[in-house]
Symmetry: C4
């Protein structure tokens, strides 16, 4: 295949997966994690080198018909003149670097922003956010690209973000937002919601402790929680989805 | 009865009690006290050694048909293959230890989390939360079980929580949430809502006082308020229920 | 008239006034100023010695049929077995003491509570809350009644509150809530909403100033704003009412 | 034309522009930027010396039929007895002074108030609020008019505000609110929402940093972001508008 040609499709995606991807968009918008500029993707069920991502649509308005198939270079299979998310390269580069990752979200969740600009490290104090114990790095775009408009506009910047992310479940992006990854859409949604909640609770706890100790999760507690992670996620998903689709 | 056999049923529960239990689920979800993983139970009207609890359903979606009957070992009378809450043992062990308790809720209310991890004691500064004056202990699961995934997965852990709860109206659970008890469902709902509100107001007051004194309720004031507690609860219940069922 | 007999009615109240009183109940509930236990009253249009107040109903559920007529002793004209607000005496005693007052609300607005328990005085920093410049006293029920359940259960306690209120637009009630008064229902609603908002903004400003000066309204600015108060209230009322009745 | 006569109309405005102006009113109310007293205007598409502004209506209730045409002295072309916003002079004076400005909003967004009264300067820490790097002056009405009721009641006060605004994208108004300007309605809406969000995040970051450094946007980053500003605004606009019209 010529490198400028349109990549081949992996075929129609599982309708349930598309339905879950639409639900993930709607849920994360309804829960205040995604604003009108965020985006969420999932790997294609038939081909790990393809992923599914909406055309440039605000998450709360995404429908199944908006979902497009992309290859690992973040090139769409069937653009048909639709607008694309400028930062789609985040998704392709992470899927390339992280075979364990099946879902990716780029968000601008407000509670995360202060952590990216103050050097205060996120630490887990709430059981549902135990994955934070693995470490949440901060991506400083100045380190790889100097002065920019902050957007991940190409594969090179996507790769730099994927490198800072490393093996971690999420990376903050200074002055911009965050990118969260997970082995499934329900865990992605859960991680995104509780990353924000832990951020809020941690700053409250630090304020209340007035320099005294905060009792964070022990690394072994965090490991044991992660080992059964996904627990109860389907019932929370059902409630979040019902609420988001009603909104 | 063989210890592995299914326990006998106390018979059909009062439909009004079931209706109130569904309402309590919906109200506490709508008020932000219960997320998709919380659960609320009530003692069976016909047998104090039985309690009523939903199958594993998010509280805002619980219906009367989801309610199951459990015995004091937190074994269901009629499972019919439904999923159960992993932490159902909280309920059975508290009902065993506390004959005065008729309703129990396990929640993960965000405003309570910072208190569980900072050692700052909850104190009552708001009349509707006077029950806090009785003391709100913090359950540290490490003390009885070392490193865990934080869940109350069996009767032994449930018993340990019930012991820390003692005669009190609630116990915080470090890094996890809280368990609140009451002599009725309306008081349980009221206590749960105002435990969270007092937590929020207390941290605001402490911040504003900047180390100066906060004028908490006097123990005698708290006692007099509790003596007439339940005051007006039915009219607040009506409004909360209307709002929750509309949502 | 025998002092134990039912007082005489001033006749049917103006339907528009009843409609506004229902709207005030709904608006203040919808705006988060009134919880299920608050209440709002207005003077009868035909007799300044009568006032209108709902039977014991949560404000967001109050309908015109719930409104009862009371005399200055807070005795209802036509009880017909309905439950009454325990703290109705707040209203009667204030109407007696303050001929300039035409509407009274007793609320438990959360942002006000920390001010009542910390000794931090409310001061106006927002133009819509200029009335705060007149001073907002704190009612300490211990001063007149020692240890109580905090409720204004009789005319004697209502009188003590009215005395602390004096000529001011509102009084905080330590550990309990506040009582706000105004020359009309629209101004009462506006004052109640912006008293809470100013409380929130003031604690934020004090935190940001870190001990430095906060630039409050000058007393002359406050006087000039109050002199044209009511400005634009009808258009805000229309929007609040539409939202509250839609909820 | 006699200076007291009614100015001539520029003719019917573009229906799409009217539709966008109604949407801007509804969106900014729904997003919590505009209360019942705020107002938003846009330049007439057919004549840069005319602007469009609602009669005195709360923004969430504004309809196309409420929109009136004004000249640069903030005199309406066709009043027909309708009430006007007292502070309409803000709009005319800014349009006169700033040919680059096509849309103006006067708001009372709560998160901005503490900045106006503490001397803490707004600084951009969030990419969507990069325009803050141009500087956000604070208008102190005492400087030009001494003690007032804080309202911009005439062209002279409007001119004083326009002078403090200078070439900047917004000016805070001490104890009162803010005025934001932009080259289009979508950018005006976006700026207004993110000015408030940045204010909230900045005070959180300053609190967390406890006197340490906050990593604000570099002026060159801010310049590059502004150079492509408007990016994605149409998809956020679609979501905001759908939500606001549903409310």
């Amino acid at each position: 295949m010529n490198e400028n040609s349109t990549p081949a499709s992996a075929g129609l995606a599982d309708p349930d997966l598309l339905d879950d991807l639409v639900a993930a968009n709607r849920i994360l918008a309804d829960q205040g994690v995604l604003d009108g500029w965020g985006h969420v993707s999932v790997r294609h069920n038939a081909d790990p080198e393809r992923f599914l991502l909406s055309c440039a649509r605000a998450p709360e308005l995404v429908c199944a018909a908006d979902i497009m198939e992309y290859d690992m270079e973040s090139v769409p299979i069937d653009l048909r003149g639709r607008d694309q998310y400028s930062e789609r390269f985040i998704h392709g580069e992470i899927y390339k670097a992280r075979p364990d990752v099946f879902a990716v979200v780029h968000n601008h969740a407000p509670p995360l922003i202060p952590y990216g600009v103050t050097g205060v490290a996120l630490r887990p104090l709430y059981h549902r956010a135990a994955f934070i114990a693995q470490g949440i790095p901060v991506f400083e775009i100045r380190d790889c690209a100097g002065m920019t408009d902050m957007l991940i506009r190409n594969n090179q910047l996507g790769r730099a973000l994927a490198e800072v992310l490393g093996k971690k479940p999420a990376a903050l992006m200074r002055g911009h937002g965050a990118t969260v990854v997970a082995p499934s859409l329900p865990r992605l949604v859960t991680r995104s919601i509780f990353l924000s909640l832990n951020a809020t609770l941690q700053s409250q706890a630090m304020g209340m402790a007035q320099g005294g100790a905060v009792n964070y999760l022990d690394p072994e507690e965090a490991r044991l929680i992660e080992a059964r992670e996904g627990y109860g996620a389907s019932r929370a998903w059902a409630a979040w989805k019902a609420k988001a689709l009603r909104a």
